[in-house]
Amino acid sequence: MKISDVLHETYTALSANKARSGLTILGIVIGIGSVVAMISIGQGASGSIQASIQSIGSNLVLVTPGFQRGAGAGPVSGGRGSATTLKQEDADAIQKEITQALAVAPEISRRYQITAKGTNTNTQVVGTVAQYPQVRNIQIDAGSFISEQNVRSLSKVAVLGPTTRDDLFGEGSTPIGQSIRINRVDFKIIGITKSKGGTGFGNQDDVVFVPLSTAQRFLAGDTYVTTISVQAASPDVMATIQQEITDLLLQRHNISNPQLADFQVLNQQDIVQTASAVTNTMTILLASIAGISLVVGGIGIMNMMLTTVTERTREIGLRKAIGAKRRDISLQFLSEAVMLTFFGGFVGIALGWIISLLVTQFAGIATSVSVSSVALAFGVSAAIGIIFGYYPARRAASLNPIDALRYE
């Protein structure tokens, strides 16, 4: 029997019972559709999380203060990062000792109420140095960033993030030369940064930059820093730099047990890896739940095929009587099951695609339907057809022609 004849018989059989065939593949459609949608949402989410981690800088090693313990604080522990254990001198030492560090940018940040000509807002004020834009991947839209000269001379100048600019001076304005008041100190605006995207708590655009020295003197009144951002020369040396910084700071802070360190050193790669591990786990979890519905769909196919074999016992007997071999019969029934799942898989992929487009449209979550997930879905649906069609096909093929013809 030729393949074209097998397909002809398959088509005739399936189209004879369109409603039942349609209902049977619904399970596969839903299963494949949700697998494709889940994977696309997972991959999209992981992509956008990685992009936003990358946008804070490249080859970044971050040093933040740790818990503030002991020293009369008793059992009460301040939150991570709340301590004032990192000093300006630590940053200077890193700059001097760690030769593989391309740039070092200490910062002191805190939220303040900011006023400007009748409007006001509450936002993050970051005191930092001229290297900051390079280290943290910040671009200037208008004017200029804080210069080394500004830091040295304790200039009262400020660079606004686009969101803060919008809140204080109106959208799209260029308020360079105007002044804002932070904590009763007037600052002159010298630049606006470009937008980096992000919303809500992750908004990297709602910020005001001032010189580090100015922030320490006039705003914080102390020389501690809240973060030291170190840019490594290449991704390969990040781990080395991380270790060197840890050793250096332990020594400077007179701590012999690394477990008791009053700071922590984070590697950007670690953050990326952790984040993608989390999103991968999420994706696998979602896809497995969707996969369960695929198995249920496959059982539906098997159920229908078994019913069909019983219903068409006479037909099978006749086919065998006029010369059909076991192989011809099992091929025909297997091909019916595979055709069903293949068609279900096709519709399911379209459905999953539409779902992921709708999710992007209405939920604002980035999604990406990859070629590999489509190929996977097709492979899985064909495999389900073969696996769940095999048993009914074998049953049909092993029917005895006489028993089959006598069957009423």
Binding site: M1, L318, R319, I322, G323, K325, R327, N400, P401
Partner: protein, 239 residues
């Protein structure tokens, strides 16, 4: 040539044994037109299944054209059926929702015959069984009983079998259409020289053959020539 030697067939269902055939021996030469007669339950269909290689005997030998087929496997039997035998069943057994032409060419589909060749063969077979040309592309379930039986006969002829087996081919038909079918068999026998084994329980139908084998309770009770052979009186134009 058909040679049955001491054939027994026992059906066993849940410890109840039924002796369907007991020590059946006979020979049918090529080109003979034989009727097998007997009351219901006498084992006619069972015998036809064995002659037609649909089933194998429990004991005894069955030689088809000199070859012992009683020990062959499922697929080997299917091959022999495909090459040598054409079946006409009591209840037509056509595929519904399938055109007359496709039904007729089905044996050739399984034999792997190319499309144009098998269409030609199917058309020839339909003509030989006097099936009206205007209905060739109708679905089989849109036909009358007599027409369906002629499609079944055409299907039995399409692979040019040396042996045509018919199990009560007129059982479901009225006398007039029955006559048409019997005429078709007589022509196939006379004009095309086929070996025909026809099963019936009606003496009237059996008298259209050259020879009648009577069986009762699974045994041959009589085997002889038909004295006054009937010729189906049917004008083919009436179809």
């Amino acid at each position: 040539m058909i040679e049955c030697k001491h054939i027994h067939k026992v059906y066993k269902i849940e410890d109840i044994e039924t002796q369907a055939l007991k020590d059946i021996s006979f020979v049918v030469k090529d080109g003979e037109f034989v009727a097998i007669m007997g009351p219901s339950g006498s084992g006619k269909s069972t015998l036809m299944h064995i002659i037609g290689c649909l089933d194998t005997p429990t004991s005894g030998e069955y030689l088809l054209d000199g070859k012992d087929v009683s020990k062959l496997s499922d697929d080997e039997l299917a091959d022999i059926r495909m090459q040598k035998i054409g079946f006409v069943f009591q209840s037509f057994n056509l595929l519904p929702r399938t055109s007359v032409l496709r039904n007729v060419m089905l044996p050739l589909v399984y034999a792997g015959v190319p499309d144009t060749e098998r269409t030609k063969a199917a058309e020839a077979a339909l003509r030989a069984s006097a099936f009206p040309e205007g209905f060739w592309n109708h679905h089989s379930n849109q036909l009358s009983g007599g027409m369906m039986q002629r499609v079944a006969i055409a299907r039995a002829l399409v692979n040019n079998p040396t042996l045509v087996l018919a199990d009560e081919p007129t059982g479901n038909l009225d006398t007039k259409t029955g006559e048409i079918v019997l005429d078709t068999f007589q022509r196939l026998h006379k004009e095309h020289g086929r070996t025909i084994v026809l099963i019936t329980h009606e003496p009237y139908v059996a008298e259209h053959a050259e020879r009648v084998i009577h069986i009762r309770d699974g045994m041959i009770v009589e085997d002889g020539k038909v004295k006054n052979r009937r010729i189906a009186n049917h004008q083919r134009k009436e179809v």
